[in-house]
């Protein structure tokens, strides 16, 4: 029984958020890591996915939940396209500020317009119970195991497709725009089309992740769940994991999910009873310190460290 509960804890508090954050991190990595367009609107695009999935599944209860997730992604992609238009004219920090506007505008919209929450007085959206192949995957009765398998399936499919995308024509055109936009144009890469495609596909991933966030992880949510903090969290995952790496998106998400758990448990193991408030403060400090440490020591992130480790192990015991 204890074992079972520990398993539930791991699924609910670690593995499910890890998989969902990975999905969002893949999305942001396509846009920022591959196409070089910095975005702080991830939380907003995830909110679009979450609210779109809620509206769709309550308006069309017969619709399969997997289809709902896909459509939520498509809607988020369309919103992403709209907010990607300024990227033709503005770059770098200025574009980041424009995407920040998207973040605040979208959250404001979902707070302001009660239609999005089906006029719920509490302002929260709640995942209704839905099944896939006879197994309950959303709603209060869905087991953590079922939700875990659903999230795992989606992120594996997402990662595979993303990997295919970046190794062919489209991925190369994104990297060309990132590395040298003038040279990209001269070989026939159309800047607006390429950047918008990156915004659209990135937002699709974020939208699906947002829908999963509500339906597979939180169960119910308000706009607070999608605030600017979430945008930064996903950006940290991408930076720590490795810009321009699909594997890095997973590593970054795992790092961000695991570090707070690790920091909470270490004092316990060392028999150092700390007040909870102090523990929270220490957690934040260590977290910030680690991010700065990573940015200085290994700007290419965990994915690069993993690559180096593999190389070293292959050559071991020889130095080269």
């Amino acid at each position: 029984m204890i074992y079972r509960e520990a398993g539930q804890y791991w699924l609910q508090a670690v593995l499910i958020p890890f998989l969902i954050y990975s999905m969002a991190a893949i999305g942001l990595n396509l846009l920022t890591g591959y196409a070089g367009q910095l975005s702080l609107g991830t939380g907003g695009f995830m909110a679009v996915g979450g609210y779109a999935a809620f509206k769709l599944t309550t308006a069309f209860p017969w619709l399969n939940i997997v289809v709902v997730f896909a459509l939520a992604g498509v809607i988020a992609a369309l919103v992403g396209l709209v907010f990607g238009v300024p990227s033709l004219r503005i770059k770098g920090f200025y574009l980041a500020v424009a995407t920040l506007a998207a973040q605040f505008f979208l959250i404001w919209l979902f707070n302001k317009v009660a239609w999005f929450t089906n006029y719920a007085s509490s302002g929260t959206i709640t995942a209704p119970p839905r099944t896939v192949a006879g197994v309950m995957v959303t709603g209060p009765l869905a087991t953590a195991g079922a939700r875990y398998v659903a999230a795992l399936g989606l992120v594996m499919l997402g990662a595979l497709v993303a990997k295919n995308l970046v190794r062919g024509r489209i991925g190369r055109s994104w990297m060309a725009i990132r590395d040298r936009d003038i040279a990209a144009e001269i070989i026939g890469v159309r800047p607006l089309r390429t950047k918008l495609l990156a915004f659209g596909i990135s937002s699709f991933y974020c939208g699906v992740a947002g829908a999963e966030y509500v339906f597979l992880y939180l169960g119910s949510a308000e706009t607070l769940a999608f605030d600017i903090g979430l945008s930064f969290l996903v950006l940290f995952m991408v930076i720590i994991g490795g810009l321009g790496s699909i594997l890095g998106s997973f590593l970054g998400a795992a790092f961000i999910v695991l570090v707070p758990i690790f920091l909470t448990n270490v004092p316990h193991m060392l028999h150092l009873p700390l007040p909870v408030a102090l523990q929270k403060q220490i957690e934040l400090m260590v977290f910030g310190g680690l991010i700065i440490f990573f940015l200085i020591v290994e700007p290419h992130g965990l994915a690069r460290l993993w690559q180096i480790a593999k190389e070293k192990l292959r050559l071991w015991p020889f130095p080269h």
């Binding site: 062919g168 024509r169 190369r172 990297m175 060309a176 070989i187 026939g188």
Partner: protein, 264 residues
């Protein structure tokens, strides 16, 4: 036969500076035409107008009889114009192979959905274009550099890879901005050989800007001379060499000798 590239009376000013004034130039299919002139004569500006980076204030540019004056650079690339830059614009973080594959971009069609699935259409397309890229790699003798990031290559090799990327587009017209700038004698000879071979093997029309007069006179069918934004002479290398206006522009009048010394 009408010209492949027609430049008609183009002018371009940047603020108060008149960079190019009513320059015309016709380039016939299969020709190698050099544009020469002192620094600041407006050579690169003309090239930038042909490739669509600048749009002329007045005048027209046509490619195969089609007006391309106001098209974006990417559209002009799709019509078969490739170029290299004076100060190399490779994708430095990417490998030589990826740079050349990017040169194939305008010929590749696979969209989002076929890329999602990859195995099948997109992969077939990838393999087909890779074959063409391998031809170019063999042609430029850069076989051992395939997986090297271009940023780590020696300067002369970067120039060569940039030429390769332009060739990967299978261009009708190749614009080369100082392809031999900063090279040693041996590298210059290699590059000159490549340019001649491209012209002979694929019949590619070439417009180049170059400062090394020896090379220009050796490989060009025709030479156009710009000075102070105006075309002051055009003709075969021998005609241009004998033209008094050209000699004046290059050597200057006695009074201008101090200015010439600064130009080096």
């Amino acid at each position: 036969m009408s010209a492949l590239v027609e430049i008609r009376e183009v002018s371009k000013a940047f603020g108060g500076v008149q960079a190019v004034t009513r320059v015309s130039l016709d380039v016939t299919k299969g020709e190698i035409v050099s544009v020469i002139g002192p620094n600041g004569a407006g050579k690169t500006t003309v090239l930038n107008m042909v490739s669509g980076f600048y749009h002329p204030d007045t005048g027209r540019i046509a490619l195969e009889g089609r007006d391309v004056t106001d098209l974006a650079p990417s559209r002009i690339a799709e019509l078969g114009v490739a170029r290299t830059f004076q100060n190399i614009a490779l994708f430095r973080g990417m490998t030589v192979l990826d740079n050349l594959m990017l040169g194939r971009h305008v010929h590749m069609k696979s969209g989002v959905l076929s890329s999602f699935l990859y195995w099948g259409l997109a992969q077939k397309e990838e393999v087909r274009h890779r074959r063409r890229v391998e031809d170019i790699i063999d042609f430029l003798k850069i076989q051992d550099l395939r997986t090297r990031p271009t940023g780590s290559l020696a300067y002369g090799l970067q120039k060569r890879v940039e030429l390769g990327r332009a060739l990967a587009l299978d261009p009708k017209v190749l614009l080369l901005d100082e392809p031999m700038g900063g090279m040693n004698q041996e590298e210059k000879e290699d590059m000159a050989r490549f340019i001649l071979d491209v012209n002979e093997e694929w019949g590619t029309t070439i417009i180049l800007i170059e400062h090394d007069m020896g090379v220009v006179m050796d490989i060009s069918d025709r030479v156009a001379v710009l000075d102070m934004g105006q075309k002051i002479a055009e003709g075969t290398p021998d005609e241009v060499r004998a033209n008094p206006a050209v000699i004046k522009a290059y050597l200057g009048e006695p009074k201008a000798s101090a200015k010439e010394a600064r130009r080096g």
